[in-house]
């Protein structure tokens, strides 16, 4: 199937035909096939002149129109004999398709005119646990965090050159660093937290530091909407909670040299 940049205005060959019929104020059931074929082909020509790609369907319809036109020229009963019915018209099949297509085109317009949810009318989006928290942000799951982390890691160059020197970065240092940031600006985007980080080990350590602060409820990780940016923000008594944990860590640090 060819790319269909071309006829955003026409949803397909039937749509184009309907357009031409309407433009010429013709009746679907009695299409002057020669005129319509001519205009149809002219439209395709125009599109091709404009270097627009004409999809295969449009060409199939062009062939169909030419075929019908040729059969219209034959005297009745002279067309191969498989249409013995009285009053057979080579346009019948096309007329049926056009009428049916038009019917659904109108049905689609009717649907579009209804009160469409999230366009005209809205339901509540907040989580149902009313008393849960003062903020409407949803808390982010571990899986979403891991997925976000993976995105960050995937962006890193594959070389692991710096890992050896950076291994000494500690979870405690990262926790302190994160707390400093949040003291200064109250919240930070998850991704920007990792912006300056260049090795996988450092990312993991940063991530662990973040998880630890979440665990002791010094910080919250929230998201305004599904798949939206993840934000890290200071909890109400961040300093009170975090200080103990960070200090406790000062004694023994597994990542330390």
């Amino acid at each position: 199937m060819s790319t269909r940049v071309e006829l955003e205005i026409f949803e397909g060959p039937l749509d184009l035909l309907l357009h031409l019929i309407k433009k010429n104020e013709l009746s679907i059931s009695d299409i002057p096939i020669a005129t319509i074929t001519e205009q149809y082909l002219a439209t395709l020509d125009l599109l091709q002149t404009l270097s627009l790609d004409v999809a295969g369907e449009f060409l199939v319809m062009a062939a169909t129109l030419i075929h019908i036109k040729s059969r219209m020229l034959l005297p009745a009963g002279d067309d191969g004999g498989d249409d013995e019915e009285e009053g057979f018209d080579p346009r019948d099949e096309l007329v049926r398709r056009l009428l049916e297509y038009q019917r659904y085109k109108e049905a689609a317009q009717d649907l579009d005119q209804r009160e469409v949810l999230s366009r005209d009318v809205f339901t509540r989006s907040a989580s149902p646990t009313e008393e849960a928290g003062p903020r409407g942000f949803r808390e982010v799951s571990v899986f979403e965090l891991l997925a976000a982390l993976k995105r960050i890691i995937d962006r890193l160059p594959k070389d692991t050159f710096h890992e050896v020197t950076l291994e000494k970065i500690t979870v405690r240092e990262k926790m302190t660093h994160l707390l400093d940031i949040l003291r200064a600006q109250n919240s930070i985007l998850f991704e920007s937290l990792f912006a300056a980080v260049s090795s996988r080990m450092e990312i993991i350590v940063t991530f662990l530091a973040m998880l630890e602060l979440v665990k002791v409820r010094a910080i919250r990780i929230v998201q305004e909407e599904m798949a939206g940016p993840i934000k890290i923000e200071a909890a109400a008594d961040m300093d009170g909670v975090a200080e103990n944990v960070v200090l406790d860590q000062a004694e023994e640090d597994p990542y330390g040299a």
Binding site: R4, A108, R119, V121
Partner: protein, 191 residues
């Protein structure tokens, strides 16, 4: 329980519900209240909300009741919520209309009506759970038959499928005849 109390409970339930609530569900939760009373109170709630100072409406949709914002306030709500999903394109709408009225229907049958390939559109509609595969058609290749979902009803504020506006009869040609004619076309196309 007092009538007022029950009405108050119904409002609370409607407020927190994830989707439309059926009278049945109300009756299960608020035990001891008969469905008739629930029905009457919901009607009352519905008309309370018609006051010009109210910004909500109680719609009957997908077999249940749901609170939604008043249509007249749509623009303000959009402004509050910020960037919202774009309008549905014509290709999507047309395909959805065909599926809604002709379900269960195969992709090939839809393509015969629209005259164009609908692969991408079907994928989008499946992803948005507006349609689902309901069966396979007993023809060569056993293609999927698609139908609309409850989400479809919710999206277009429809009680059920019979609530769809009647298809305009543009001519004397009846639907069965059309579909009979359409099948050979598909076979020709496939071969």
């Amino acid at each position: 329980m007092e009538r007022e109390e029950v009405k108050s409970i119904l409002e609370s339930l409607l407020f927190v519900a994830d989707g439309p609530l059926t009278v049945q569900r109300f009756a299960e939760v608020v035990d001891g209240i008969d469905k008739e009373t629930i029905h009457i109170l919901l009607q009352e709630l519905q008309s309370d909300l018609e006051a010009p100072s109210r910004g909500l409406q109680l719609v009957e949709v997908a077999g249940g009741y749901q609170l939604r914002t008043a249509k007249i306030n749509g623009e303000w709500v959009k402004k509050l919520l910020g960037g919202r999903p774009a309008r549905m394109g014509r290709a999507t709408l047309e395909t959805l209309a065909i599926i809604a009225y002709r379900q269960p229907i195969t992709k090939a049958e839809i393509e015969a009506i629209r005259g164009v390939d609908v692969d991408g559109v079907i994928t989008t509609l499946l992803e948005r759970t507006l349609i689902r595969a309901v069966a396979r058609k007993d023809v060569p290749g056993r293609p999927f038959l698609y139908g609309t979902t409850a989400e479809f009803l919710q999206l277009f504020n429809l009680k059920d499928l019979t609530d769809l506006p009647t298809l305009k009869d543009t001519d004397e040609i009846s639907l069965p005849e059309i579909s009979r004619d359409v099948i050979p076309l598909e076979q020709a196309e496939e071969s």
